[in-house]
Symmetry: C2
Subunit: 511 residues, 2 copies
């Protein structure tokens, strides 16, 4: 049978248009009228608040403290770390004046008398300004490690933007640490990568591959960059978080030195790591379907939404009371070790419109209550992850109110697990080995909806040899995503150079 | 007796220098090297996180949802609301370029080829950009009210800055709402003022006076501005939060119109309200003493800090275990309806230095545990709000460990209440009536440490008459703080004009 889905466009028809439709129909975000910047609406921001809350707990549990550093970075700070500025100089917002004046024609212009002596850069990332603080804070080995994090907005001027995935301004957290030894800094880099992996899988139900990025994809100024890569439903990769071992590159530029236990002056080893609102783009493209978003319950602003079927009559009062009691009872429950989040939707709109609104937003459980449900002591429950029955009808199950309350937490856990299982099966089933470059080409020449990634052995070429590989892949619109930490058997020669392979890497298209 | 206090300068010696000393010695914040911007360090940011958490709950409990709007506002948005831009145009950061290029001498300059067609303003406040969104969101009376809030950084270029009180960049929340009727919008304005009053008093232990600002102190573009005013220990006022009724001024400039139930097009009435990191400056100047900060327990990042008196010997192990067990037991308790926050400080430093570090930071309860305490099943407790005994010695009370655990939550409530009571008594005792301008002048001519405020009757002059009053007060370095909502008897003539008085206002010096 044909199901009439809630979105105006399906994933099969046009994945890019479908992505925009989910964002619009689920009220996640919208264009702001300001170039490259979006407005994050309450449902989208609510998801970000959940992400913040859950990830922040894990960042703190690993010993990091939150701070706040300036939005503006003096131009000269960027001039210190040559490789870093090379990577960022092309796309930054530059503040040059600190006042506006009237132009005499009713308009406003920057006041020429208020030109800054040194331009200020709106932070694209904060290694330079935080490094300057570390240099003040660190004198002795006793001051190490320094383990800090900030939640902030950053700006990278982007020519082509896409909501959540690539916007000029975005929200993120950036962790920055300084350590006495290389080993400790390397351990930190991998520890935070693992925090990201576990967070993505446990909380976002986003299966990811954790691994090291190739040299050409390193953060500007990093010695090693690691990422978690998620697979979207169109088979493209989304880099959902990165963790960088910076060695002494930034410490040297910023003069972060400490006296070691032997009294000698040493450079600190630093790390940085971040995830951003981009993760929400990943959640959309991994869990969304043709009826909108499906939000994993752990990050759903409302996990259960109750929609009373009101008729604008006197009988409404009892129905609202029945629903209120249900909402209050649900609110006393715990789900995933936190209070369950249940909303009673009393907005002035038709019940069917509200139901479909919550389906498009992706609330995990939508509970409809009509007079007949109330009379029977029941509720009608829709599970967002299994919207339709085999016959194509909406799967709305009438269950006793008491049964629903008793099972609500378990149902939410079941939805969370089902979303993860579905995405994990897709990821597992969409990574294919390729023995040589011809096989890689053939794989991606196929025009299936989800080509996934290929898993190839390579010799980890560097310099010009790596450039040649990157160019060859670029012609196929492919990139090396990462070399998974969990390595398979490294057999045969490098698919690119024919030299003996030293590791396996994942290759795919990407956002 | 003379107590040797922990700070290098006392409040009596130099209040301004004392304020800076508290910020430095309590590790709250520091100069960033970026003009007008500060680095908020973990203890300072931890206090802000507590403020955010507690106030956010109250903002949500009153029906508001969080969103996020762009950092950048196109220049043209400011040109629409004439009065608003008049108030802000003088002090804004202007982005004019989106790229840097090398200057050929190893430095960087804004790329002339990347000059923006329209300059972007770093938001000083978001009425204009949020109003533009409201215009998109609001079509019918059914779309109203719109009740939103955002937590964000804003920038107002300041010539003279002071940490927390006046920085070019600061952190805040800004609520913005749109309503169908004047009455509803006015009610909202006062509802949020009351949320601020209750939050300041309940959570920050900051007694405040809620009232309406005089016309000359209104937010640019507002019909009415209300504030909560707190009194610092030097008698100066600190405006700690504001709530604005904007009438249809912004709706008219931004075209926020709705079809009412009768089918006619009407302008919405809007409000905005905010509090910022400035509140932390208020907490410092109300609760700080000559030994540093005293943080009210509800907003203390750590409410109980355990300092083991280690001797770098084998006996340390048992002591650490004793302290760990104590920390874990405390963490299972609730204080103020939340899990109690207890830290075990194991940093490599001497116990006495750590104790004084926590005293300066203002942790509400500092628990020292030495081998003798452990042997007796005891702990030594210092209450930060009562640091010294009558004889001038540190008041460290040895109590049974079990007793301390049983009483910890109650002790924290007692510290919170004591801080509020002390500040409330000071506020009450430092507001004096003045019957005429001579009495006002005489009051502030006196050079006592805390002149407080005077409470005068006035005729609420407008226009030129108000300007004259403002100028006269300015000569005395005074401003009208607000007309308290709780009005005393309005007797006699206006102290400024001699006309019949219509309300009482508070007059004082201010930050």
């Amino acid at each position: 049978m044909t199901i009439k889905h809630a979105l105006p466009v399906t994933r099969d028809q046009d994945f890019a248009a479908w992505y925009q439709a989910v964002i619009a129909e689920a009220d996640l975000a919208e264009e702001s009228g300001v170039r490259g910047c979006m407005v994050i609406r309450p449902w989208g921001y609510g998801i970000w608040e959940r992400i913040q809350r859950l990830l922040d707990e894990r960042i703190k549990a690993t010993g990091h403290e939150n701070c706040y550093f300036p939005l503006f970075i003096p131009l000269s700070y960027f001039e210190k770390e040559a490789e870093h500025v090379e990577g960022f100089a092309k796309e930054m917002a530059v503040v040059t004046h600190h006042r506006l004046i009237g132009d005499g024609k009713g308009g406003l212009v920057p006041d020429p008398a208020a030109k800054l002596e040194e331009p200020l850069i709106v932070r694209p990332t904060s290694e330079t300004v935080i490094g300057a603080a570390f240099a003040r804070w660190v004198q002795s080995w006793r001051d190490l490690p320094v383990l800090i994090n900030q939640w902030a907005n950053v700006v990278r001027w982007e020519m082509r933007t896409r909501m959540f995935l690539r916007t000029s301004e975005f929200l993120w957290q950036e962790g920055h640490t300084a350590h006495a030894s290389v080993q400790e800094a390397r351990d930190e880099t991998l520890k935070m990568l693992e925090v990201y992996r576990a967070f993505a899988e446990d909380c976002l139900a986003l299966p990811v591959v954790a691994g090291e990025k190739p040299e050409n994809e390193r953060f500007p100024g990093a010695v090693a960059t690691y990422s978690i890569e998620a697979m979207m439903q169109d088979g493209k990769a989304l880099q959902a978080g990165t963790s960088h071992f910076l060695g002494t590159n930034f410490a040297s530029a910023q003069n972060i030195r400490f006296q070691n236990a032997g009294g000698e002056l040493e450079l600190a080893n630093t790390t940085s790591w971040g995830v951003s609102t981009r993760m929400i783009g990943g959640v959309i493209m991994v869990h969304g379907d043709d009826d909108g978003l499906r939000v994993p319950p752990r990050i759903a602003p409302w996990q259960v939404v109750i929609v009373p079927m009101l008729r604008d009559g006197p009988e409404d009062e009892a129905l609202v009371a029945y629903c209120k009691a249900l909402q209050q009872e649900l609110a006393t429950l715990a789900a995933f070790g936190e209070p369950l989040r249940a909303l009673l939707d009393l907005k002035p709109a038709k019940a069917a419109a509200k139901r479909w609104g919550w389906v498009k937003k992706g609330a995990p459980l939508v509970v409809e209550v009509g007079p007949r449900d109330m009379a029977g002591g029941n509720v009608s429950v829709v599970r967002r992850d299994r919207l339709y029955r085999a016959d194509g009808k909406l799967d709305s199950a009438i269950v006793a109110r008491a049964t629903f309350v008793a099972e609500a937490s378990g149902l939410l856990e079941s939805v969370q697990a089902a979303l993860f299982a579905e995405a994990a099966a897709r990821l597992r089933g969409s990574i294919a080995p390729a023995a040589d470059l011809a096989a890689v080409e053939a794989h991606f020449a196929d025009t299936c909806a989800n080509p996934g990634w290929v898993d190839v052995a390579w010799a980890r070429p560097a310099g010009a040899a790596l450039d040649a590989v990157v160019e060859r892949l670029k012609a196929l619109k492919l990139t090396i995503r990462n070399a998974p930490l969990a390595q398979g058997a490294i057999d045969g020669p490098c698919v690119f150079t024919g030299a003996p392979a030293v590791e396996r890497v994942l290759v795919g298209r990407a956002y």
